[in-house]
Symmetry: C2
Subunit: 108 residues, 2 copies
Amino acid sequence: MDDLTEMLKGTLEGCVLEIIGSEETYGYAITRRLNELGFTDVIEGTVYTILLRLERNGLVQVTKRPSGVGPPRKFYALNDAGREELAKFWTKWQYLSSRINRLKEGGR
Amino acid sequence: MDDLTEMLKGTLEGCVLEIIGSEETYGYAITRRLNELGFTDVIEGTVYTILLRLERNGLVQVTKRPSGVGPPRKFYALNDAGREELAKFWTKWQYLSSRINRLKEGGR
DNA sequence: TACCGCTATACCGTATCACCAAGTAGCGGA
DNA sequence: TCCGCTACTTGGTGATACGGTATAGCGGTA
């Protein structure tokens, strides 16, 4: 699949929220998860900028834990604001994708 | 619906391509069409920047015609490169939306 | 010991895009 | 004459994903 960069704008952050919401996890693992979900070209740097943004915006709770196989990991979990933001994301996605699919089907 | 700006990145241009592909038309009318399709907050300025980009990238054929009710209109039609780009857009949209919906359904 | 590879995070710069504001301009009606 | 609708252009802004580099812990191996 060629470049999805522009299309991912605004949706990738939501995907990261969803992953964190389903399980407390950390940046490196989130990247691997995205890759296996079909977001094959997403790299660590991109995910970390999103995570720092989520933290800065107060949507996540962060816990640092030692790893045993490398440097310590920063685990992320959604707080109430994060869950609310995630719900809003899915509402927007639902809205947008329905409009676009309607347009695709000959848009009326 | 609150702000869809970020989510529209990469998809709005595709929507404009689709509209032009279905009928030769001009900027002002495209904006009205998008509005009635549910992209309620999209304004003229945004559409014109997309149209200029499409022209610059050689995806459209442009014809200026007098209007009778105002300044002349610039009508846009897809050329071969534009039709190819449109096909690519729908392929990417299909790919991305299927991955995101899978993630939404509990991502496997 | 030295090096490599995997894990793991941070930071800085870049490109792209949708958006916004202001300007120009044609036309018809009050 | 002014206003409103139509219609396009241009310059600047903010948000986002991405790329590259740096730092660092750990285990294996030559």
